[in-house]
Symmetry: C2
Subunit: 329 residues, 2 copies
């Protein structure tokens, strides 16, 4: 496990690179109408945790360190290799476009989920939600635009004529599309929309897990796996990162449910207690708070095991998972 | 120009192949929840004209015929070449995934545009709009899902390890993303949303043309150009198809505006006269019906010239443009 100050530094640097790249990649006036540009930026730069792009960069970093072990037979060569690995470990560029595209998709999903026709939320990241400020029509369009911009980015960047890079980009675009679309995130939100008492649908533990696997888990997995693929990870490393991220995604959701019970509007930056108020199925509702906390810890252990078994413990990937479970908002 | 019965046959065959492929490509239960699957299919199989995918296939066909001219020096070789060209001309498969993806994106845009928060339309293709039947929340999600499914399809199909095919798929995904996103279709719809008297924004002829170039023109151009790219068209052919489609897109919109004035709910399958009722800027409102008809004819002439100059008159591409201008719904 990396020392806490390293994780802090890693998170800070990753967030800065993601923010800078998002600003570069996002269309702006005059090509993009100011209203649409302002609306997209309002939500994209609202102080989100950047969990998904951080997972992309951390997974890319961890897999690079594993992949780039070069043969060496002298102390001097050891030093070169150490420098190379350090350099590789600091180069976010192969995975940065995918990281940004996934954050765009995550942001669009929050915008649409918050609409009155969906979850009808008025507070997000401590500010009024987008439709409260810009109206429902522009909020729908800003979300639609972010999704299109995300796939445009995945197709365009990193620019390269290398056939291997092209193959990776197509693979990532296909898996992000599946994770975000009608068998993934969209499906999860549809199931969630129906899972309220007025629709007379109640979910058991298995159905709750399936809903979350789609609604939040799929994109979290796609985020981590995209990083592994974009740095050229081999199949075994990609599979290990996928298994790791599946556990992290479930832990993330359980903690989210716990925070909705324990947190306040002020600590969360969004409306607390809304799950219970809406009679939504949650882990605390099904298992109680203590058992839910234990489940989150079990997920973290399983995530750790997936990385250890694959030799992917260099770097900050595991520390990111621990941060996900320990977070207070 | 191809005889009318050939065009009819071409349209019929293209529509059948597109419908079959859409059914194959679209996620279904159990991977996709039945509600989402039903909602997407309700709008996707509502009897649309399939103009955009037809343009994709017709452009691919025309460019294939131009590209596949082989050297020959005997009557026997002439026959072989003629058979080859016929075969090439009948093979929709390289462009079919792009054609279907673009129809998915077009359909999602209709679903979202029809929402109460946008144009608030209750009739489309002779049936109640999706949100009237399924509610606004599921309609938003069905649209979101169709957009994600479209880009997933562009990344996955046609499946090939050929680096040239991979490069074409990435190029098409990038241009479709730009056409559909915040500098294209989404921008056009945002401008349109603002261009009503209550927002105190009025458009002159230049601004009207810019709005339509984004709202409908961009995806129509992307549709035709995708076909040209996917069959391996050279830069000059792709550019000619783009110029052709820009003129066709404008003609399409002018005719759309005319039909809104002259048509009825029954002939159009959607609410007629709604532009005037909403005080929307239109070609008839700015130029009158006669001048609008003349403008549409001028666009068709310019489109024809683009094809003639590039030697792309074999096949049905020009006939499709004529059909667009002559259509009654």
């Amino acid at each position: 496990m990396a020392p806490a100050d390293s994780l802090t530094e890693f998170l800070s640097r990753a967030r800065r690179e993601v923010d800078d790249a998002l600003e570069r990649y996002l269309p702006r006036p005059p090509e993009c109408p100011r209203l649409v540009s302002d609306a997209m930026r309002y939500s994209l730069f609202a102080g989100g945790k950047r969990l998904r792009p951080i997972l992309t960069l951390a997974a890319g970093d961890a897999v690079s360190r594993r992949t780039e072990v070069l043969p060496h037979n002298s102390r001097a060569m050891d030093q070169v290799v150490a420098q190379d690995r350090q350099k590789v470990a600091q180069d976010f560029s192969p995975a940065l476009p995918a990281a940004c595209a996934i954050e765009m998709i995550h942001t669009y999903s929050l915008i649409h989920d918050d609409l009155p026709a969906m979850d009808n939320d008025t507070l997000r990241r401590g500010r009024p939600t987008l439709h409260v400020v810009y109206g429902d029509g522009i909020a729908i369009l800003a979300g639609d635009g972010l999704q299109a911009a995300a796939f445009t980015l995945l197709a365009q960047e990193p620019a390269s004529v290398d056939p291997m890079v092209a193959a990776r980009k197509l693979r990532v675009a296909a898996l992000v599309g599946a994770a975000a679309g009608p068998i993934g995130m969209v499906a999860g939100q549809a199931i969630d929309l129906q899972a309220v008492p007025s629709h007379a649908v109640s979910l058991d533990a298995g159905a709750l897990r399936d809903m979350h696997a789609r609604k939040t888990g799929a994109l979290i997995r796609a985020a981590a796996v995209s990083g592994a693929i974009m740095v050229g990870g081999e199949d075994a490393a990609v599979a290990a990162v996928d298994a790791f991220a599946a556990h992290v995604g479930l832990a993330f959701q359980i903690v989210d449910d716990i925070l909705d019970v324990e947190g306040t509007d002020a600590t969360l930056g969004k409306s607390a207690g809304k799950d219970a108020a809406a009679h939504k199925p949650t882990y605390p509702a099904l298992f109680g708070l203590d058992r839910s906390r234990a489940l989150a810890t079990e997920c973290l252990e399983a995530a750790r095991k997936a990385l250890v078994d694959a030799g992917l413990t260099d770097g900050w990937l595991l520390a990111v998972a621990e941060w996900v479970v320990a977070r207070k908002n």
